[in-house]
Structure formats: structure tokens, C-alpha cells
Amino acid sequence: MALFGYLVRRVLTGIVVVWLVSTLAFFLFFARPVMTVARELAGHAATPQVINEVISNLGLNRPIMTQYWSFLDNLFHGNLGYSYFTQEPVDSMLRQDLPPTVSLVVGGTILWLIVGFAVGIISATRARSLFDRTANVLVLIGLSMPVFVIGELLVWLVFQPLYSHGFTWINTGYAGPTSGLGPFFGHMLLPWITLAAVQAAVYTRLSRGQLLETLGEDYIRTARAKGLSERRVVFRHAMRAALTPVVSQLGVDVGQLLGGVVVVEVVFGLGGVGQVSVQAVYQDNLPVIIGFVIIAAVFVVIANIVVDLLYAALDPRVRIV
């Protein structure tokens, strides 16, 4: 019951955050002259009459508060407005582009966490070993490389040679799970690796540092002195204390993950929400960008609730109520 109350509270604050973000996005976009958009839509040779017609068709000539009210009203009904160019409703546009983005986020996050924590733990338990040193070098390279460079290098050095030798399982572009699991994994493998690489580097470093510090604590020495096996000491006694702070970091990194998602979608041509929004910037397609900002806010809010629940489950000192 307490958990339920907590969830309700978090969801309500989440809604307030999303409302604030969308209001901000709305007013930010209307700080711009309406004429630019209208002129672009109407074409360069358009007469003033045509431009005025375009403006009134888009409803941009109404008082700004009226526009804001209808924007909120629409938002409440799940309507994010219409694309300036195709007249398609933005919500159905973005819903269409959601599958690649969701596949990327889920798979990339799983890979990121597994690799990050595993390498960090092995490095810490074998500090200064060859494995540790190699991992350290790779982590530094990962931290120094922009996501898009990793993606481009994978396309150039992995995808291209394999593809030209007839090994076409690994591919670019997007193929949904409906087209079979084989093609799905083949298309998503490189994007997942790219998205996971940078984030995993950060987490390897964090978890290694935390675990090393914890392994130096007195209670670990006590556990060892009791004659517990090293495996039990590390996994039972040290791990939970060491990794809880790392988990609390997850909420912060969700925002970063979104940035990586946009870049990976562009590099591999996955055609997800991020890639569509970047294209919308080139076209001045404001409704699409506002929709993207709102979806991003919703995603960050939900991810933070999940991380906090996870954190409470891991750390017995944290009581949710």
C-alpha cells in the first residue's frame, strides 16, 4: 500500500514535470517569428496573401494564450498537433518511429549494464592485472570517443568488410522483430554495441572504483578472516554496498542515453524518433520537435521512477515511504 501511495505521488510529480517541460517548449518555439515558417511552407514565390492564408490555416494568427490553451487541450487528449509539411498527426508519426528507438534503448541498456558492471567487477577483484590494465585503456578510449565515431568505425571496419564478403547477417537500417529474430538481431547488433560502448566505459570506471574502495573496508577483512570464500566475500558482502551508489547514478545517465540514441539512429539509419526529430530541425517542423521534447521528458521521468524503485530494492536503508 505504501508502495502504491509512493507510485501515485511520483507519477503526479512526473506529470507536473512533463507539463512544465511542454509549456517551456511551447513558448520557446513561439519566441520565433511566425513568418519564417509560413514563408518556407508557402514557397519563395508566394504572395503575401498566400502567406497569410498559410498562417491562418496553421492557426498561428490566434492570440498566443488561445494557441497555448488548444495545445494543452490537445496534449491532454494525446494529440501532439500536425506536421507542418505532411499534415500527418505528430503522435501517430512518432508512434510509428518508436519501435526502432525502443529496441535500441532496451537492448543497448542491457548490454551497457552487463558489460559495464562485469568488467568493473573483474577489474576490481584483479586490480593491476593484465585484464585490469587492458580494461583501463579501453575505458579511456571509450570515454574519449564520440558515439558517432564509434558507430562510423564499426560500419567501416566491421559491417563493410563482412557485407562485401557475402556475410549479410550484420546489417544497417532497421528490421523489426516481426521480420524474424535473426534479422532483428543482425540489424540491431552494431547499434547496440555503439550505444553501450560509451556508457559501459563510464560504468566500468565507477563500479571498479566503488568496489575497490569497499574491498578495503574493515568488514570485508572480517568476512575474509571468518574464512569465507573469496567469491562469497565479493558477491555477498562487497557487491551490494559497492554497487548501490552506482545504481543511483543511473537516473542521471538516462538523459545522456537519449543523446546517444539520437546519434546512433542517425549513424545506422534506424529511422527512430531521434532521427526524425533531427530531420525536423532541418525542415523547421516545430510540432514534431515539440512532440519529441515531450516524449523525451516522459521517458526521463519514467526511467527515474524505475531507477528509484530499483535503488530502494537494493539498499535496505532506503525506505520508500
Binding site: 562510423e152 546519434v263 530541425v281
Partner: protein, 353 residues
Amino acid sequence: MTLTNVDVSAATAEPEAKAVEGRSQWQLTWRRLRSDKVSMIALVVIVIMVVLAIIAPVFASITGHAVNMAYPDTGENAVGNPVPPGTNGFWLGTDSTGRDLLVRILYGARISLFVGVVSTVIAATLGVAIGLMAGYFGGLIDTLLARFTDAVLAFPYVVLAIALAAVFGPSLTLIMIMITFFSWAGIARIVRGQTLSIKEKEYIEAARSLGAGPFRIMFIDILPNLMAPVLVISTLYIPNAIVFESTLSFLGLGIQPPTASWGNMLADASNFYQVAWWYLAFPALFLLLTTLGFNLLGDGIRDAMDPRTERLIAARRMLKRREKAAKQDLARAAVGPGPDPAIPDTVREPFGG
């Protein structure tokens, strides 16, 4: 610095230590840094990169190739593709429109280094000023800073970049404003923590009892002792700023062609990697060398400023002289406590990728 290190150590040192010359913390750090091969290599790489960026026009005049000039006759092959390195006086080959790749990479270095260094310096100045006040006065400024830092750290910066680029149009100024906006809070947070501990020291009490005002104490007594952590954290922010700029330029939301930037070159190169590997490889290499250089140097400075590192080095020397017995000592020293918690092991700031 004058009061804290040299004088005090001379006054309290053992008689035999008097022969040892007094050294400031900067000198000690520099000595340790110099003995670290990796940091020195990183420093050399950075210096070379800076020099290359400064003398980019010299390369343009040596090769005779202007940065934004296409050379369709010499710079493209029969089917209009880029020519490989070493052809017709193009040392690193040409790009998709027959422009000199080397010259463009060096002009791109100017943008990257300018964005990285200038926005980090602005962010550091802001961060130091606000962090000092938050740490010294506490109260409302402190609370506001904490709230703001939390919000900024969780903000999806690429999403904001997309929104702002859509509203104001992509520009160099916009990139630098965004980098500064996202960086200063992290620096301020570290400065705040350091200020909190320094302001309790006796010499601050002494300054106060001599009648020094809060601003004198903050900027003349506390600030010099903050320079070390600020320097480390700034070195680690520069590569992140460079990555951020190149990412935005890659997405077409940053530096716009024909102005050369590593990000927009790599974006164009991704269409030509099958026919012109050099077009992708060389800008990527320069970008990676620069960010890796700054990251390694930052790590090196942090280690050099950590007094425990001295013991590590000493332990290593001992290992060379003695044998197996000393080896166990080293293992203990090496797996000892981590670096100074005031300077986090991994800098958490929003420009990871």
C-alpha cells in the same frame, strides 16, 4: 600559497630536512607529472595539436590549397571521387568535393580547440565564483546551486540542443553557450565542497581576526588553494566540450559547412567510406588523439596532485631495489584507498557522448 606551503614547512621541518629546498605545490606536482611518461606524451600531443591549429594557414600556403577551395582537376579522380593521400600534393588526400583534407582537418582543429578551451574557461570562471559563494555563505545560494546542479546533470542535452538549434538556428555561439550552461554547475559543486573544508582552517580564522572581509578571504585566501582541483576538472571538461561540439556538428546542428569542423567532415565522410577510407580515418584520428590527450593529461595531473601517489612511486622504486618482500608491500600500497574524493574518479558531467 605563500603562507601555507613553503614557510610553514620550513618552520616545522626536522633539522636534516632543512637542506631540502622548499617547493610549492605546483613545483611538486610538475615534478611528479614529469616522471609520468603517459602524461608527458599526452602533453606533447596536445601541444603539437595546438601548434598545428595555430599554424594551419601556413600549411594552406605551403600546399597552396585554400581551406574552402575545391580542386576538381587535381583533387578528384576520373569518376569524381576523392584522391588518396600523397596524390598531386594532397598530403592526406582530398574530401568529397576535392578539397585538401589536411588543411581542412587543421582548420577543424582550430574550431574544436577554441570551443573546448574557451567554453571551459568561461564555465570554470563562473563555477569558481558561484561555488565559492555557495560554500562560503551557504544558505539560499547553496540550496539553489544544489537543485540546479541536480537538474542540469539529469538533462538530456542532445534533446535541448535539438530544440535550441531549431529555434535559434545552429551557430558556434549557441554551442558554446550550451557547453558553458551544462559545465559550470559541476565545477561549482566541486569548488563548493573544497571551500567548505578550507574555510574551517586556522589561517582563515587568522585572516578574519585580522579584519579581512568575506571577499578578501574568498578570493585571496581561499581561491589559490582551489586552483589545483579546478585545474584538474577543467582539463577533464575540455575533451567533453570537444566531443559535444563534434557530435552536434555531425548531426548538422553545430558548425555548418563549408566551415571545416571535425564533426561535419565526419558526417560527410560517412557517405564515402567505401571509396575514400582516408576521409573518415584522418579526422577521426585527430579527434581521438585530442580528446584522449586531454583525458590522459587530466588523469595524470589528478594523480600527480594526490599526495598518496608519491608513496606509490616510492613503493615502486623500493620494488626495484628489494625483491619479493617488497613486492607484497606494493600490492598493499597499490590496492590502497582511491584518489582524493574531492576530485571524483570519473567526472560526471553531461557531455559523455
